[in-house]
Structures are given as structure tokens and as C-alpha cells.
């Protein structure tokens, strides 16, 4: 199988605390990997290591010419900065003059109107801002999307729309998607494989074999309820 990412014995350490220990997995091109696990298990740390923003040991091998689009969970940005959605998107474009058509295209894709894109980013709702980040990621014509809890803090209908959007983009643009989620229903529905970062052990495999009550209890340290919608 054609892999877009191979991770071999990846370890990340902050001082004396080892957050990730000898983690190995691979991601096939065009597939979808869900990363689950309790808070503090190192899910965001894994993503930061994958994009090279924190030092790590072991090997991270991306396929040649891979283009990563990253959608972070939280931003440290002040809410009152006068940067509009459009300012942010234009900042991604390498060609200042030919960029407006490209920006309109990604705004259409993620469902943000032109009026909303002219608002300062601090005034956008959680869902609008996540869509803007996805639009920004799409401007770089990514082959891989890394989404860190893309639907956190968004209302139920908004979550569903965003999940469907990501799934649709993945199919239409043959993207590989890595996403962190606490929504096990979503994981079951959309993930090809699940990487489960537990306090004591790590497991990897298709949702059907990973999302079992016993394994989830072991990973989270407490019984976990979730509903599977069979299509």
C-alpha cells in the first residue's frame, strides 16, 4: 500500500516527562486516521511533532512533495486585532493579484460568505473560525490535512456540517486526513484507522477493532458510551 506517512519509534520528551514513547504507525494515501485518547495523552504533541514544530526522537517520514494543511485547536491570538478573514487568506497566497479567484473558490468550498470573510477574525464564531482555518489550509493545495479537534466548541449542527465538509473535501480532492477527536461516533463513521493514545498503552487499527467497550475502558480508564449510526 502507498503510504503518505510513516512514523517509526517516535518519542517526545519535555524535560523529564516522556509524552510519547516509541510510537510507530503509518497512514495510507487518501485514508483517514483518527487520533483518540484522554486529555494529556499527547495527541496535540503528536501533531506538533509531525509538522516539525517541536523536537522529537525517532523517524517521521512524509512522502516526497507532501503538502501539509494544519488546522490547530487553539490560537493565542488576541481577539481584538484588526485582521480580517480576508487579510488572513490573502496572506497565504503567493500570487497577490491572481489570488482572489482562488480565495473565492476555497470560501465557497467551506461555506463562508464574502461578508463574513471581511469581519475581523476575533468576531467570528467558533465554527466560522474553524472553517476559515480549513480554507487557509486548502489554499496551499494540501495533500494532507491535520485537524486538531476541528469541531471543539462548536454547536451540534455546526459540528455535523464541518465533519461532512471535511469528509466531502477528502473524497473530492483525494486528501489524506489526520484528525484528533473526542467524538467516537464521528471516528467510527469517518476514520479508516484509529490511533489510540492511552495512558498505559497505544493501539492502532480499524475502528471496528479499536472502538470496543473493553479497549476504550482500558484506554480512558473509565467506561465510555458512544452510539454507532449504521448507514
Amino acid at each position: 500500500m502507498d503510504h503518505i506517512l510513516e512514523v517509526d519509534r517516535l518519542s517526545v520528551r519535555f524535560g523529564n516527562v516522556e509524552v510519547l514513547t516509541e510510537l510507530s504507525f503509518s497512514v495510507a494515501k487518501g485514508s483517514s486516521l483518527a487520533v483518540i485518547g484522554p486529555n494529556g495523552a499527547g495527541k496535540t504533541v503528536l501533531f506538533k511533532a509531525l509538522i516539525g514544530s517541536i523536537p522529537s526522537a525517532g523517524a517521521i517520514r512524509w512522502a516526497p512533495d507532501v503538502q501539509i494543511g494544519y488546522v490547530p485547536q487553539k490560537l493565542a491570538l488576541q481577539r481584538d486585532v484588526p485582521i480580517t478573514g480576508m487579510d488572513f487568506l490573502q496572506a497565504r497566497s503567493k500570487r497577490p493579484k491572481g489570488s482572489s479567484a482562488e480565495i473565492s473558490r476555497v470560501l465557497d468550498l467551506v461555506g463562508i460568505s464574502k461578508d463574513v470573510s471581511e469581519c475581523t477574525i476575533g468576531t467570528l464564531s467558533g465554527g466560522q473560525f474553524q472553517r476559515l482555518l480549513v480554507a487557509f489550509a486548502l489554499l496551499g493545495n494540501p495533500s494532507v490535512l491535520l485537524l486538531d479537534e476541528p469541531t471543539a466548541g462548536i454547536d451540534e449542527p455546526g459540528q455535523q456540517q464541518l465533519n461532512e465538509l471535511i469528509h466531502r473535501l477528502q473524497e473530492e480532492q483525494s486528501l489524506t486526513v489526520l484528525f484528533i477527536s473526542h467524538e467516537l461516533t464521528v471516528v467510527y463513521r469517518y476514520a479508516t484507522n484509529v490511533l489510540c493514545l492511552g495512558r498505559k498503552r497505544v493501539c492502532f487499527g480499524p475502528p471496528r477493532t479499536i472502538l470496543t467497550p473493553d479497549l476504550l475502558t482500558e484506554i480512558y480508564g473509565t467506561p465510555v458510551d458512544y452510539h454507532v449510526h449504521h448507514a
Binding site: 509538522i51 494544519y70 491570538l77 484588526p82 480580517t84 487579510d87
Partner: protein, 249 residues
């Protein structure tokens, strides 16, 4: 006189532009403290009978490098380091400098400028403006999220270093007029005013430049009319404009 004004205006344009990103990065206080580090440089330069600007610039670049190095260390509190070291720099600088020289270094003093000084100032200001204009997009992405910037192919560490060096250069440019205590204010106040009034980034940059230039021109005019120090009047005018902007919104 005219060349003095041209130089002051180019310095104000640079301060307005650089200040926008400083304010949005929440380094308003750091900016002020960083300018203090110029004082020991001025003291050493005066003792060695070389032009104070060289000593100031050298210390400012050193200060910028220090901030950059500390920011790269996750377990060191940047604000504490800046607070302690740069206040210490002010103390050491005050010991090295004295009398008229100290007052001029702290608050600026408008004396006659030599042609090399004017040319150096205009070229340096042009460099600052060119940096902000050409790197504006990268600076915006880095501001929103350094991680996103990384995946967009931006060398975040290098860009950050270049920004801090540009910032240090801008302070060096204004020392002549405003001194080490007040130059930080000309970088921060116009940008803070613009942040309140602007609806997008282009507006913010234009308003900040407008306020910085207006404060510099009006402050310089008032100084010669009232026979007062230029730096104090520039900053007072800038603060009045900020207050008006604050009341308007």
C-alpha cells in the same frame, strides 16, 4: 532643517509600521524595555569617543538577539528575563553616562545632524519599511499561528529574528529625537491607536503611520515654538491622539 524633518518623518513611518506587529504580538511592554538597553551602549560609546548611535545600535541588536534566544526556550519566562535584564541595563547605563549626556540619551535632543547621519537614518528607515511591506503576509500568518506558518513553508524562527532586529533598528533610528525612555512610546502609541480604530490590516498600518507622522511633525513644530524638548512633545501629541481615538470609539 528640512533634512531633519525628512529624517524625522521617515523614522516615524518606520515606527508606525513596526509598532503594528509589536502591539498585535502583545510586546508593548517588551518594546519599551528593549529600548532601555541602548543606554549602556551610549555610555560606552561616549567613553570611547565614538558616535553614541553605534554603541546604542550594538546594544539594541544584542538585546534583540537575547529576546529571540529566550523566546526559543520553552521553559524560560521571556517577560521576566526582559524585565530584569533590561531594567538592569538602564541602571548600568545611568552609571556610565552622566550630566547633559544622560538627559539627552534618556529623552533625546535635537541637535544639528551631519549628512552621514541623515543618509544612514533614511537608508535604515527605508530598510525597515521594506521589511514590513514585503514580509507583511508572513508576519500575519506567524501572528495567527506559528504552527500554521510552519506548514505554510515559513521559517518562523528566522522571520522572528528578522522582525526583532528590524524592531531594534527602528529604536536606534529614533534615539536621536526621543531618547531611550520615549522611543518605545512612538512605536507603541500610534499602533495602539490604529488597533482600536482600524477595521482591517491595511487600515491599521495606514492609521499607525499617519498618527506617528502627525505626532512627529506637530510635536517638532510645538517644540521649536515652545522651546521645549522635541521627544517629550512628540510623545505627548501621540498620547493625545490615542486618547481622542479612545473616546471616539
Amino acid at each position: 532643517m528640512l533634512e531633519n524633518l525628512v529624517l524625522a518623518i521617515t523614522m516615524a513611518i518606520a515606527a508606525g509600521l513596526v509598532g503594528c506587529f509589536a502591539v498585535m504580538r502583545r510586546m508593548a511592554l517588551a518594546a519599551d524595555a528593549l529600548s532601555h538597553v541602548a543606554l549602556p551602549g551610549i555610555g560606552v560609546a561616549l567613553a570611547l569617543h565614538i558616535h553614541p548611535i553605534f554603541g546604542a545600535a550594538a546594544m539594541l541588536f544584542f538585546g534583540a538577539l537575547l529576546v529571540w534566544a529566550v523566546e526559543g526556550k520553552a521553559r524560560v519566562d521571556t517577560e521576566v528575563v526582559i524585565g530584569v535584564l533590561f531594567s538592569a541595563a538602564l541602571a548600568v547605563g545611568s552609571m556610565l553616562t552622566s550630566g547633559e549626556d544622560l538627559v539627552e540619551a534618556l529623552f533625546g535632543g535635537a541637535g544639528a545632524l551631519s549628512w552621514p547621519e541623515i543618509l544612514f537614518g533614511i537608508v535604515a528607515a527605508a530598510l525597515v519599511v521594506a521589511f514590513v511591506v514585503t514580509q507583511r503576509n508572513r508576519l500575519v500568518v506567524m501572528l495567527v499561528s506559528p504552527d500554521v506558518a510552519r506548514t505554510a513553508g515559513i521559517n518562523v524562527r528566522r522571520l522572528n529574528l528578522l522582525y526583532l532586529l528590524t524592531f531594534a533598528l527602528t529604536i536606534a533610528l529614533g534615539l536621536r529625537y526621543l531618547g531611550v525612555l520615549l522611543m518605545g512610546a512612538l512605536i507603541i502609541i500610534p499602533a495602539a491607536t490604529a488597533k482600536r480604530l482600524a477595521k482591517n490590516l491595511t487600515q491599521m498600518l495606514l492609521i499607525a503611520v499617519g498618527v506617528a507622522v502627525a505626532a512627529t511633525v506637530v510635536g517638532t513644530g510645538l517644540a521649536s515654538w515652545l522651546h521645549r524638548e522635541t521627544g517629550s512633545l512628540i510623545v505627548t501629541v501621540a498620547a493625545c491622539i490615542f486618547l481622542l481615538g479612545f473616546l471616539r470609539k
